[in-house]
């Protein structure tokens, strides 16, 4: 099933939860909507499911305008945040709720919970509830499956395992999937395409790699976890950042630039133009994450190899690797 959302706005009083949202999802595509809490991503799912009437705009499923169709006739599946399982029914009863003739046994083995049919839902662990919620959403064979924070409350190890299972399952079933998450790792692992939302608007659409390599705005860059973002003035192919000068392929003038932590090169021995003092050094397994204080500039984050990492209090020379600099578009909406 293909999905087309055009010009959708949702207003609660004077607050705009969604503002003029445009989104296309092709058949069999897996799209993840990524954004901080309050960015409107759950509202978008509710609009597509028919649980929230938009103030403006249209929702089209397989070419049919369903904007006025109530939720029980849309034929889409929705897996709720925190699962919303029916506690008055057992596992099998939950799965049969939307389809009395569902093949409970094969759905349960599909989600890796064979023989769980007669169990009471209150006895299930978080991961098991998540699987039952997925089986329940799949039981009516929806052509569009939507997931709201599918792995939200689970612990990290379980999330990393389940996200791989989900991706495999989607490929196998060939269902069109629209998932919502605030976790970029989850979004990147699940989806063919990522939609980043901010303040009720779409900030960027692209493959996970596109979004990671070329964030569309300072907001997107910061949301992805990058902190080394600042305005630099560019002259004759060189950008003057607060942390030093570096060659960039950009027109003269002020530009927001992102310096990836891996592109911050620190050396203890050879002196350079720009020096700073290591304020924090956090051991993170395969690398050491360092925060450097440079006079008159924001703290600079650097990722250093474990063998050559400086220690706290050391004075280091700072160079920026031109290959790891991203010039962000000006006049971003954020």
């Amino acid at each position: 099933m293909s999905l087309s959302v055009s010009g959708v706005s949702v207003r609660f009083g004077s607050f705009a939860a969604l503002a003029d949202v445009e989104l296309e999802v092709a058949e069999h595509e897996v799209v993840a909507v990524l954004g901080p809490s309050g960015s409107g991503k759950s509202t978008l799912l509710r609009v597509v499911a028919g649980l929230q009437e938009p103030s403006a705009g249209r929702v089209v499923l397989d070419g049919v305008d369903v904007t006025k169709v109530p939720p029980h006739r849309r034929g889409v599946g929705l897996m709720f945040q925190d699962h919303a399982l029916f506690t008055h029914k057992d596992v099998a009863g939950n799965i049969r709720f939307g389809n009395a003739w569902a093949d409970v046994a094969s759905l349960l083995s599909l989600v890796g919970l064979p023989d769980a049919g007669p169990r009471a839902v209150v006895t299930l662990s978080g991961g098991e509830q998540q699987r039952v919620a997925l089986a329940r959403a799949l039981a009516p064979s929806p052509k569009l499956l939507m997931l709201d924070e599918p792995l939200g409350q689970l612990d990290r190890e379980l999330r990393e395992r389940l996200v791989v299972e989900l991706r495999r399952l989607f490929v196998r079933l060939g269902t069109t999937v629209l998932a919502v998450t605030h976790d970029q790792r989850e979004a990147f692992a699940l989806a063919d395409r990522v939609v980043v939302m901010a303040g009720g608007r779409i900030a960027q659409v692209g493959t996970p790699r596109d979004v990671w390599e070329q964030p569309a705005s300072e907001f997107v860059a910061r949301f992805l976890g990058f902190t080394n973002v600042a305005t630099a003035s560019v002259e004759a192919g060189t950008a003057a950042t607060p942390w030093g000068r570096v060659a960039v392929p950009a027109a003269p003038g002020p530009h927001p630039v992102l310096v990836r932590p891996a592109g911050v090169l620190l050396s203890v021995d050879d002196p350079g133009d720009v020096t700073g003092v290591v304020e924090v050094a956090t051991f993170a397994g395969e690398r050491v994450e360092v925060l450097v204080r440079i006079d008159g500039a924001p703290l600079l984050e650097a990722h250093c190899p474990v063998v050559s990492a400086p220690t706290v209090g050391e004075t280091v020379a700072v160079r920026l690797d031109p290959a790891q600099i991203v010039v962000l578009p000006r006049n971003s909406s954020e």
């Binding site: 499911a49 649980l51 506690t87 709720f97 939307g98």
Partner: protein, 539 residues
Amino acid sequence: MDPDGAPLRTRLLALVPLAFLGVFFVYPVGTLVAIGLGFGEPIPGVPGGSLGDVGGVLWFTVWQAVASTVLTLVVALPGAAVLARFRLPFSGLVRALVTVPFVLPTVVVGAAFLALIGPDGLLGVELDRTVWAILAAHVFFNYAVVVRIVGSVWAQLDRRSVEAARVLGASRPRAFLRVTLPALRPAIAAASSVVFLFTFTSFGIVQILGGPSYATLEVEIYRRTVYLLDLSGAAVLSMVQFAAVAVLLAVDAALTGRQRAARLVPASPRSPRGFGEWAFVGVNLVVLVGLLLTPLAVLVERSFATSDGYGLTYWRALTSADASSVLPAPALETVGTSLRYAVTATLLALVVGICAAVVLTRPGRLRGAFGLLLMLPLGTSAVTVGFGFLVALDEPPLDLRDSALLVPFAQALVAVPFVVRAVLPVLRAIDNRLREAAAVLGTPPGRVWWRVDLPLVWRSLAAAAGFAFAISLGEFGATVFIARADNPTIPVAIAQLLGRPGEVNSGQAMALATILMVLCAASLIALDRLRPTGAGGEL
């Protein structure tokens, strides 16, 4: 969910309780108020009565209510502590026993205390027609209110707060005064206002135990209407009572609105430790059994104790038509009458109460006023309601005097607030996403309630039904006005039998009261077992 349809459906649902309350509460009580103020037609054959000693009646009503409330707290708070804090053998049974007196009709409680401390009473001291009998019966009746309201909070208080105070250097009594008591204060206040309200509007107990020299407002209204035919005086007294209760409810609402809720954790009772704790538990259990069980046991005993030793004389008299000149038919027929009325009243109360509770869970601007209107019958005296029925519903456009539904309507009116209070918290606790999940899974709006809400609330509904049934069975204050003379209910028959001299009459009253006690207790206990543990719902 369905933005266009829902408000219309909600409005239609709201019509049911609104129409019910309008016709059977606002209209009768309003008519009464009009008569009291001198509007409306004068009632023929009734002289303009003097108001007499209204001040004296009001004073007695207030001070006996205060005394009853304080006494109940003193006796019941330690009992609440024992049942809340300690894991005891049979504590489930004890908890159920504690609740029985609360659902007993006041007429039965009055009869039980007559059997205990009345003329020829078991204790040998004749205390009836004294205020002590009234106070003792009030404590007996309201013990469960304190245990249920305070005990449920006490059981769930976070023990670590007390432990923290102890570690910080507070002694046990000091930790109780500084930590436990403040945390319990809202619950104690809530229980006190309920007990005060019940004893302020006390009717059956005062009527049976007080004798001619004691009267609450409620009793005085009844006496003026039935014995003195002073309807306008009774109407004015009804208004005084209505105003007093309205003030009480307003004060209660203002107080509860400002209170902070204590942090609650799942209850974790433990076994008593050491001599002190065991002694505390033992003394309280003795009080509990002595206070609660003795009157009920004596009631049963009296129904068998004839002047020639124990026998079934009084029970046999229930079935014979000529043994008693007090009742129009064999006394046992009142059982059938009461059961029929109570079943009808329960169904009515459930329909009205469920509609009202569903409306109250939906958003809406007038919800607050609607909720208050629903609770008003709880605060209005049953006698006022019955009297209102009598004067308002006996002539066109609404002449229900001969309708078999008149009594059930009055009883349902008394039971509706209890149904709403039992069901509403459970309905409110249902996560709305469950309804949304049902919709997305293809359930049409009209069926969501049946597939999601009803399965989740039916246990609470069953418990509410049991409660409504027991209340309807025992309802006296309103029923005594409107029950047809040739077809009295059990409580009305008991009061009539007790009001006449003669051993056979009082013996039959005891036997009927035993039957009523068993019916009420059985319906409550059977349906209370269905209530899910830990679920909300008041009372």
